[in-house]
Each structure stands twice: as structure tokens, then as C-alpha cells.
Amino acid sequence: MLYPPQINYERPESISEALSLLNEHSRPFLIAGGTIGVLNLKRRALSPDLVIDIGRLKELKGIDFRDEKYRIGSAVKIYEIIDSEFNGPGFSLLKKAASSVGDPLLRNMGTVGGNVCIGDPSNDLPPALLALGAELNIVGKAGSRNLNISSFYIGPYRNLLAKNEILGSINFAEPGKGYRWFYYKHYIRHLDHSVVNVAALAKVEGKKIDDLRIAIGGMSVRVPTLIETSWIKGITAGQEELQRVVKLASEKCLCLDDRHGSAEYKKNMIEKVTQMAFLSVVGGVL
């Protein structure tokens, strides 16, 4: 039987109270939705001296759109993204990624901040947020700082959030009209960690690519990663460019044999989904 160890639990009323609690404890543990946090407590993977529930903090709630920029509070539930009325191409990409998370019941529980901060390489939101160039607003006792999500992950389940900091919000600009988007997740069985997931955004002017962003995640990579595609700007894409992007993606393969597949299988799947993403967003040019 799985049961959490004896814990102390606090539900602070404000971010500043939460930050004080973080600073006063040696092994604090933040939970919001709890889908992974409570599970890890049940598995006794953690022995925190305080569980701090930030899931209801008003300051971490809400999805706003101002000056062509979205601000998504870290305690926004995954379903709130899906139910939101925003429908620009950038937000639509995030919606698709959000609707790929777990199952409908877990999406009613889990939060955007949790999905971003856990650092599970196969989580759905990070590749979409990488393609969107999202900035993470991180709050600490001394103030807040912004960090692009592309430098946030430093290893599987590891990120640059300090022990006494809280992810406040996720911010990104709507790429806007003319952008096409694509999200795809490849897994063996439902609720498994994905083998590879891919998020892409592109704008094509005439026959030239104006902007292309592709990010991959999943158990085939070490951390969710953006593929370097800035060189493609202004180029009329053909087979050669497609192959180059696919090769750049496959170089990101961690490619270890494990229960998610053989190294060769993973490499093949990265290549396949990157090709799908490229063809989908660049589309008619080829």
C-alpha cells in the first residue's frame, strides 16, 4: 500500500507567506495540483519537513492577454488552458499540448507550473513553451527574475529554480497571424512517458521561411530542447533543409536503450516526428 510519510502541511495565503515558509525550512516541498507531488510523497521519494500547498494562491492564478502577450499564472490548472477562449496560433499550440497531458481527470488537477517545473523530459507543455519562447517569471524573497525556458532545464527532473523560489507565471508573445503550429506526442501506451513529443511553429512568406521553431521532448532526449533553426530564415525550404533540420533534431537524441525503446528506435522516432512537424508547419513550400 502506498501512503505518504508523516508530513506537516501549510496552505499559505500569499506568495510572500509561501516564500517565508520556504526560507524557514530545510526541506520544504511545494505542491499545487499534487498529481506528481502527492504521488512522490506516496512513493516515499521525498521526506520534506514541510509540504507547502500553493495551488490556491490568487497571485498564481489567471490567464491574461495584454499587449499581445500572455501571462499564465503557474497555479492555473491544465484544463483552464484547454477551456480558455484564446485561439491565436501560439495559444492553440499550447492548448493542443495541454490536451495531451495525462487524462481528463488529471488535467482537472494538475497545474501549468507543475508541468513546467517537474522537469520530466516527457511532459507536454515544455516543448510547446520552448517553441513559443516563453519567459518564466520566478519569484524569490529578494524580488523576481525572468528566465527563458530554453535555459531552465539542466537535466532530467532538474532545473534552475532555487530551493527558496516559486515559479510565478509563464509569459509569451502571441506569434500572431500567418503562423502555423503543430504538436504531436508519440507514446507506447496511454499515460506512459512519451517516447518523443514535438512542438513547432512557422511562418512562411511567399516561398521563403520567415520563422521556424521546433522543440522536442520525451524519453528520447535528456531535457526538452529547442532545435537550432535560425539559419533557415529567408531560405526557400526544400528537401535539403528538411534533412538538415531532421539531422539537428536527431543529434539531440539521448538514445539509451530502456523500456521506452531501443536507442535506434528512439532516434528513428525523433527523425520521424521532426519530419512530420516540419512538413506540417512549412507545408506547401516543399
Partner: protein, 153 residues
Amino acid sequence: MKIKLNVNSEDYTGDVEPRLLLVDFLRDTLGLTGTHVGCETGSCGSCTVLLDGRPVKSCLMLAAQADGSRIITIEGISKGEGMNRVQKSISESKALQCGFCASGIVIAATWFLERNENPNESDVREALSGNICRCTGYQPIVDAVLNASKEVK
């Protein structure tokens, strides 16, 4: 710690250990054993209840996290009308075998049908994708939910 919950329209105040899971508060403290414990890891959906109107997995939640919430369990899902349309449809078509997953599936399906007037099969399958049934292969359950959707409320 003290928590206050409204379960199936009745208020409960209790002093709970912070580590008490919501599902065990419902089953052991309140005696509402219709909510089941299956996988304990948030995969199977046997422990599904409505929390402030939305279905969640109560084995992945501390009772403390649900403090102040409104909860509906299988015991309260039919609003005093005997069986609701999902329960009737499942019962009439004998869509289940062992029935262990039934309470979770009824909760998830009832919530889904309240929000979707004319669902198709793939909508129903998606709505039930958080609930595992190891007996039926799902088809009879999906058919029963589709039949229930055609009934006048």
C-alpha cells in the same frame, strides 16, 4: 489539522492527519466506500469523485488540499432520483462485469454528458480515458454511455 468539506450536500468538519488522502477520508472517516482504491498511483480512476464540480482522482490528493471544497461521490451522483441515466444505461445493458471501476466511470461519464449533448464515440472514449476497466474491453461501457446520452434528461 481541521478541515471542512461538503460531501454529497452535507457538511463535515474533521480533524485529520495532513497525510490523510482524500479517498481515505471519504472511505474510512465518512464510510462512503463506493469510491474505490485501485492502482493508488492516479492511473486507474477507480477513486474518481467530483471536486467543486469537476472529476478528479481522490487517491492523488490530500484531504487537506480539498479543505473547503464541495465533493460529490458515487453515493450522491444521482441526486436522490434512484439511478441516474448513466447508471440505468450501464445496468440495463449489463455493460460491466466485476464492477470495481463502475463508480469512477459513472462519475466521469455523468460529468461528461452534462457538458456534451450529442457526443460521438471518440468523445466518449476520450472522456473515459482516465478510467481503466480490466474486464470489458470498454466497448459495452462506451455503448452504454452513448445510449445514456440519447435519453432525455
